[in-house]
Symmetry: C2
Subunit: 479 residues, 2 copies
């Protein structure tokens, strides 16, 4: 149902007014407490934003937040990269709300279920013998010899909506991104009313690929159905098929999944509907890729996550979560995409249930000068906060763009290591506990051993991830 966030709803205007009314400060709670101006939630005021910082940040924002809507179409998305060179698609003030449609970059695995009849998706996926709806796909070379017609060479795969320009944001600031809502994009094909669909590709970049039984190598795509009404909290498989060479409209043949958005011709595949019968995947709707533009390069492959966030691929980055990002360029330039209906810790086969979602966010800017003495003072990595947890994200190389130099974007794929990501997660959690909780180093070592959980975020994004979770309740006994 439209909550003021579906521009195709006949009653969109009325729903939109109602939504804006409901999000007025003082009328609607978020995570158990107020919106901007409250600055804390859960028992004991355990937000990383102190009440004082919240007040300071709120005082610098307009008194009444505005609401923005950013649909996903060929004018509002960029495909496969973050870039500080992009023109903003929407400008917001600190405290504003913005609903952002996101499209999965795997929709071409089943155009009938994930694109057909959906005006926005159709404009993005448009690909004829002479043109593509979104020309550049990836951060790579635009040399025509590399692929075709100045379109990137597929280094980077995610369809990202944005960027959102946050007025006043400068390097050194911290951008707080509250995820107020996150729900599946209903299928626009009348044949599948009330449903949403996602694709899971067990692909050549998957962790399993070089370790298949009997030395086999194949890419297999599974299409999942997700209930768009929200009545069911689980997804189920519809069918799967083995990737066979596909020739795109430009006439290039793809023996593997090597370029984003290649339309799958199911006249060539063999669809198997006898798949995962009776298996129900609990849904965990979230954004695999959410972050701000890094300063280090003009075009940055969307696959490896970094200090500015991006493709963190943690399923906890969904409704009710708050992300904190260090701002790297003027305006922050937030983009979001890679929507997932569900994912397990590790994203083992290379992808999640890749399913278009629409999110509603509140963006709050915290200025560098105001951070001193607050938990956000030294926040130089993407930080996740939920109602009950704080989560740091370790990577094989924390800031690979800064560390690996000119060839960083190719070299990072040779650095994939859980061991290295664990090392980084350990250091980040230690620093987090020492700086935000005032613990000594010895206290943190003990606490991390008896009360912090380390998990494997993903082993498929070049820059592999380990997250560390500390529950807020550990500090509930503090004054």
């Amino acid at each position: 149902m439209c909550m003021g966030d579906d521009v195709n709803c006949p009653d969109f205007e009325a729903h939109f007014r109602q939504f804006k009314e409901e999000i007025n400060p003082g009328r609607r709670g978020f995570l158990g407490a107020g919106l901007i101006g409250a600055g804390s939630f859960a028992a004991g005021g355990l937000s990383l934003v102190t009440p004082a910082l919240a007040q300071t940040s709120a005082a610098k924002a307009p008194a009444a937040p505005s609401y923005h809507y950013l649909p996903a179409n060929s004018d509002t998305v960029h495909w496969g990269y973050f870039s500080k060179t992009l023109a903003p698609k929407v400008e917001v003030d600190s405290g504003d709300y913005v609903t952002i449609e996101t499209l999965t970059h795997h929709a071409a695995d089943d155009l009938e279920r994930m694109v057909q009849g959906d005006e926005g998706a159709e404009s993005v996926y448009k690909w004829t013998a002479t043109e593509k709806g979104v020309d550049r796909r990836g951060a790579g070379s635009t040399d025509p010899a590399v692929y075709k017609v100045g379109s990137g060479d597929g280094q980077g795969v995610h369809i990202l909506t944005g960027p959102v320009y946050v007025r006043g944001a400068e390097p050194g600031d911290v951008l707080e991104v509250r995820i107020l809502d996150c729900k599946p994009r209903p299928c626009a094909n009348p044949e599948f009313t009330g449903k949403s669909f996602g694709s899971n590709a067990a692909a050549w970049w998957g962790y399993h690929y070089n370790d298949m039984l009997n030395g086999a190598k194949r890419e297999v795509i599974t299409i999942y159905e997700v209930d768009a009404s929200g009545d069911r909290n689980w997804a189920e498989a519809v069918y799967n098929f083995k990737w066979v060479p596909q020739t795109d409209p430009f006439g290039v043949t793809h023996p593997t999944i090597d370029y984003p958005g290649v339309p799958v011709d199911h006249g060539l595949t063999s669809r198997n509907y006898d798949v995962l019968k009776g298996v129900r995947i609990p849904i965990r709707p979230h954004f695999g890729t959410l972050g701000v533009a890094p300063a280090e390069a003009d075009f940055v492959d969307s696959v490896p996550p970094s200090y500015t966030g991006g493709n963190v691929d943690n399923w906890r980055i969904g409704k009710g979560a708050v992300m904190y990002y260090p701002v790297s360029v003027e305006g922050a330039l937030l983009s979001v995409g890679d929507p997932h209906a569900s994912q397990g810790d590790s994203e083992l086969c290379g992808t999640a249930i890749e399913c278009s979602l629409t999110g509603t966010f509140q963006l709050i800017l915290h200025k560098k000068a105001d951070l001193a003495g607050t938990p956000l003072e030294e926040m130089d990595h993407p930080m996740l906060e939920t109602q009950s947890e704080w989560v740091v994200h370790g990577f094989s190389v924390p800031n690979y763009l800064g560390t690996l130099g000119a060839t960083a974007q190719s070299d990072i794929y040779g650095k994939s290591s859980i061991d290295d990501a664990m090392r980084d997660a350990f250091r980040k959690m230690r620093k987090f506990l020492m700086t935000t909780k005032g613990l000594t180093e010895d206290e943190t070592h003990s606490l991390m051993s008896v009360g912090v959980d380390f998990g494997i975020t993903q082993v498929v994004d070049g820059n592999w991830g380990v997250h560390a979770i500390v529950k807020k309740e550990l500090f509930s006994g503090r004054a």
Copy 2:
């Protein structure tokens, strides 16, 4: 309160009779269903033991299970190793119940709180100028030149109670170990009535040790208090102290924590009571070490976990959990120890909250000949089942004793790798889903990516661990 499992309780006999009455089949449920003979629990009969196998196994066991009590003292524990050469401390039939006291091997960090007045613990920790209550400590050399008087050289550290001999158990069988209860051992010192205590050592084998700030190296022990009544579900720190060289009763000085059970002389330490103020650690009582004796060597260091279980250090191995172990030697020879009041995934600093616990177990033997076609047919690794989850355990080297040859017990410490443990966990979960759920390889790859969570069990036991969790609810839609 004594539930028929505290021999020091004045009403032990009455409580014991009541306990035995309550555990009669048909009178008391376990994990939502019956005991032996029911063989399934949770919705949909989702136990790894099929109803048919449960009946078959029950038919081979005595009609009425017996109850046994194994206290912990110098006669019933072995220190630092598993061994197929040990004489059983108790013999049981399949289906029997046994309450086993376990002692933490870190109790000498605070003898006043964890040993004094506790007859069993005192007998184990006894150490005079001429003798030790438990002489051999570790799987290592008994050459007097290595340490002292034929006592092992500290290769292996855990105080293990047992072994329990299961009548009829032979290599190739599977032993099911149901953990019916698991609770802290009350402090016997009248000064601390109603409390239990544990020790956390941030030690030289910890993950943090070579990565401390400013290149420092120190070992720090934190003493935690745990509520023995069960009214509080959290532990809190009491004090911490830096390890300073300690001279044991034999006159050997220990500059680091290099030998099990060295009594700490607090006249030499400086205790800091201003530690982790207001921090409450949620308790997760469990057995760090639980397993059967391996066939590959006579004396096996208790530190690295292996295919027979042992020091798996997964905090989920607590009350309500069921472990399955492949039997490797006649009688299975189950031992248990390394009790923990709480631990985080990774056990980062080297130890958990090491706290003596008493557990009540039911042991059920499944004969090799009866396993064909059941989920236990090819179970060649320690497998955890809870009411809601199945958990496989991957290790850097799955069966290091078999793989690394004669020098396995030293070589394994050079093989520590989360990356390798992840590889093993992936392969085990794939095999588990294919064999027990009848999925194809392609189905498992997709399912593992969208519905299985991989976490870091421990990075401190030589043979590092990664676990993979699949929730039973994924299969709740199956007929």
